[in-house]
């Protein structure tokens, strides 16, 4: 019985597979299942299929690691899905399908001006619409207000510098017996926020790595914080290479006064902190150069090898309609990338008041972001730079390199990566 039903479903599967090219109206979109992903898009996809009978959009949930490591190899060998939500916006640009014929270019250009640039991989002349930016993520610090209150320390106001935040959180940590004052994800992306606010350019206009005094100041400051115990060694000190590491649990357990992470942990805050302590998201701490944090985010892109460019284009255009986009964003509790939605604001019916407030703070940081932050985010070799940053800074923290050596190595690492990738 079971066997026969299995066989039947197999036969059915073969039949489906065989008849698919005849119908020829089916696309596969891969995404992960967190935030703006397959789960939150599904209702919109269902609506799309209802309105367009005979057309099928398959949403495939795959692990994030598969997106990062496997998708580029598939694309390079001419395989892969019709479309995907990617986060390495610039690195994959050579595979993107230009959506200009299928969408309303004026709306897209107006709505996603900055992010569309990221999708062009640093090609300044291109006017291609390489995809639809889904949501923005914003780096930022979370502080434990309860600890501040207990220590009787004033929370630094908007415009406070990194140094002022470090001093204040250190004071709080000392007064309350909290283990650490500040923590930061072990991620080159998070560190770039600190570096750019200290004046680092990171990448020049013509796409070359820049190692300047701003970067040096940021690294020196960062190392000092690790040496004087402001920051724990657990993250940047304990791990090597390109490995990403986060310890947000330290903030959830009130082991650190300030945690520098990003907007994606907001939903976790609501579930797990509850009313254990008061917290808020702080405005971007300032450096000598600017008060900036790094933007990030994903984009829904179509790939050139698809057999169904019209259908992919139509689906992306459908999803880009403000009402559909805000439906997905509200479900995902994420920040819109579309400028009209930022202006009009989105209602997040599921989120608590505190989360709404935090989202508002994150959104308020977007206009303050330095041009260098946007340029770095859209750079094709951003990942090479971020990897060099984590690897080399960790080596400095463990005494394998000095700051000068690290700066030299960072520049060399990125140049070698560019040279190898562009060898002719």
């Amino acid at each position: 019985m079971k066997l026969s039903s299995l066989r039947l479903s197999c036969a059915f599967g073969v039949l489906m597979f065989a008849s698919a090219p005849a119908l020829a109206q089916e696309i596969t979109v891969v995404c992960d299942d967190l935030g703006f992903g397959c789960n939150t898009i599904q209702p919109v996809a269902d609506k799309f299929m209802e309105e367009n009978p005979g057309k099928t959009v398959n949403l495939e949930i795959v692990p994030y690691q598969s997106m990062v490591e496997s998708l580029p190899v598939q694309l390079a060998s001419g395989e892969g899905p019709d479309a995907a939500i990617v986060t390495d916006l610039g690195g994959l640009s050579r595979y993107y399908l230009d959506l200009t014929p299928y969408v309303d270019p004026a709306t897209f250009n107006e709505n996603f001006e900055q992010t569309l640039q990221w999708l062009r991989g640093g090609d300044a002349e291109s006017t291609a619409i390489n995809g639809m930016p889904t949501s923005l993520t914003v780096n930022g610090g979370y502080v434990n207000l309860t600890l501040f209150e207990q220590a009787g320390v004033e929370v630094p106001p908007e415009g406070a510098t990194w140094q002022e935040w470090a001093a204040a959180t250190r004071e709080v940590a000392e007064a309350t017996g909290t283990e650490f004052a500040m923590e930061m994800d072990r991620s080159g992306h998070r560190f770039a926020s600190l570096a750019i606010s200290h004046g680092a350019e990171l990448v020049s206009e013509d796409g070359k790595p820049v190692v300047d005094d701003g970067l040096r100041a940021a690294i020196e400051q960062f190392v000092e914080w690790h040496q004087d115990g402001t920051m724990p060694m657990d993250l940047w000190g304990a791990v090597g290479g390109a490995t990403h590491r986060e310890l947000f649990s330290d903030f959830l357990n009130a082991n650190t006064v300030l945690y520098f992470g990003g907007s994606w942990t907001l939903s976790q805050m609501d579930q797990e902190v509850g009313d254990l302590f008061d917290w808020k998201v702080i405005p971007a701490p300032c450096g000598p150069s600017s008060c900036t944090v790094m933007p990030g985010g994903g984009a829904l892109v179509a790939f050139q090898h698809t057999d169904q460019p019209e259908l992919v284009g139509a689906f992306i255009n459908y999803l880009a309609q403000p009402e559909n986009l805000s439906q997905v964003l509200a479900a995902a509790v994420e920040i819109p990338a579309a400028s009209t939605l930022i202006e009009s604001g989105i209602e997040y019916p599921g989120a608590s008041e505190r989360t709404q407030e935090a989202l508002a703070t994150f959104i308020a940081q977007i206009p303050k972001m330095a041009p260098a932050a946007y340029r770095f985010q859209g750079w094709r070799y951003q990942r090479a730079m971020m990897n060099a940053l984590t690897t080399r800074i960790s080596q400095v923290l463990n005494g394998e390199l000095d700051v000068d050596g690290a700066l030299e190595r960072i520049e060399q690492d990125v140049n070698l990566a560019i040279e190898a990738a562009e060898a002719q």
Binding site: G240, G241, N255, L397, R409, A421
Partner: protein, 332 residues
């Protein structure tokens, strides 16, 4: 015991069914190609798979190592000569990695040269001690053997995540230390303790496998040899060094070769546990190759391939020496 024998017999009976059908076919084949060609027939399936999925990739890798760009198809990759090898070998002073153009390659090589002997020695020592204990007349041998073998079944990622929870600052080990009144230690922050735990965790995860092989070897040693030794009133230690070790030598050699090869290939556990850190204290060769060739964009297949070939040459020399020893011992 009898139940398991019955299972074994039943399995044998089932397995013999297709065999009966195949036998006449094979006899016919033997007549057709002659007995001289039969070994090639036995060899062929495995050899083809090896050529297609192991040797061919190596040749593709060799090609990659002489070409540039991040393109996947060999035909799209421009030829750059020995450039990759030159950057890898470009060093001011080979004993000081920081004078090398690719410093992390040399750090990884240095770490591997310390890690492999340490880990293999610890692995075989502990596995042998455990096998000897299990070979004694003890109660619950099956249970103990199962316990020692259990971690072998866990996937490397699980092993690493488990130990990361145990070892982190807020992990259970520090929880126990705190309860006992000790200061918690941040185990993975210091180069030496991180290195120690890297060895420990990899031994923990794999020793069960070697214990089982060694135990099989111990049990294959005929008892009457010891009876004779007892007559000579040889001391326990002498019995061990004069009888057990020599008779165990072939098995020990197998274990040694496997342990060395797997030790050199250590990757998954440490990648998740330490990521090669702190700094680059536990960065081993395979992780270095994986990171530059696969995990980090833009992927530098060429450099990764060159590094892996240099590693391969070192290993090849090692294996040839081992094979010679192995041949010597099986003849003698």
């Amino acid at each position: 015991m009898s139940a398991s024998l019955r299972i074994a017999r039943a399995t044998g009976a089932v397995a013999s069914l297709p065999a009966r059908a195949i036998e006449p076919l094979m006899a016919g084949l033997q007549k057709a190609i002659g007995i001289k060609k039969m070994p090639w027939f036995f060899l062929l399936p495995n050899l083809l798979a090896v050529i297609l999925f192991s040797l061919l990739p190596v040749f593709v890798n060799i090609f990659y190592s002489f070409t540039g760009s991040d393109r996947l198809y060999p035909s799209q990759r421009p030829f750059i000569g020995t450039y990759n090898y030159e950057t890898l070998l470009d060093c001011g002073n080979y004993l000081d990695p920081s004078t090398c153009s690719r410093d992390l390659f040399w750090r990884a090589l240095g770490n591997s040269l310390v890690f492999v002997p340490t880990q293999v020695a610890a692995m075989i020592g502990i596995a042998l001690l455990t096998a000897i204990c299990l070979n004694g007349n003890i109660r619950g041998r099956g249970f103990f053997r199962g316990v020692f073998f259990f971690p072998v079944m866990l996937s490397p990622v699980v092993v690493a995540l488990t130990w990361q929870w145990i070892l982190q600052r807020t992990g259970v080990l520090n929880g126990i230390l705190t309860n006992l009144g000790f200061e918690p230690v941040n185990w993975l922050v210091y180069a030496n303790s991180a290195f120690f735990w890297s060895v420990f965790v990899t031994v923990w995860a794999h020793m069960g496998f070697y214990t089982i092989i060694l135990l099989a070897g111990l049990q294959a040693i005929p008892r009457d040899v010891y009876e004779a030794a007892k007559m000579d009133s040889a001391s326990h230690w002498r019995a061990f060094t004069r009888i057990t070790l020599p008779l165990l030598k072939p098995v020990l050699l197998v274990v040694f070769i496997l342990a060395v090869i797997r030790s050199v290939q250590t990757f998954d556990e440490l990648y998740v546990l330490t990521g090669g850190g702190p700094g680059s204290a536990t960065l081993l060769m395979v992780q270095y190759i994986y990171e530059i060739g696969f995990a980090v964009q833009p992927r530098n297949f060429g450099l990764a391939a060159a590094a892996s070939l240099l590693l391969g040459i070192v290993l090849l020399i090692f294996t040839l020496v081992q094979l010679r020893i192995s041949r010597g011992s099986s003849n003698g």
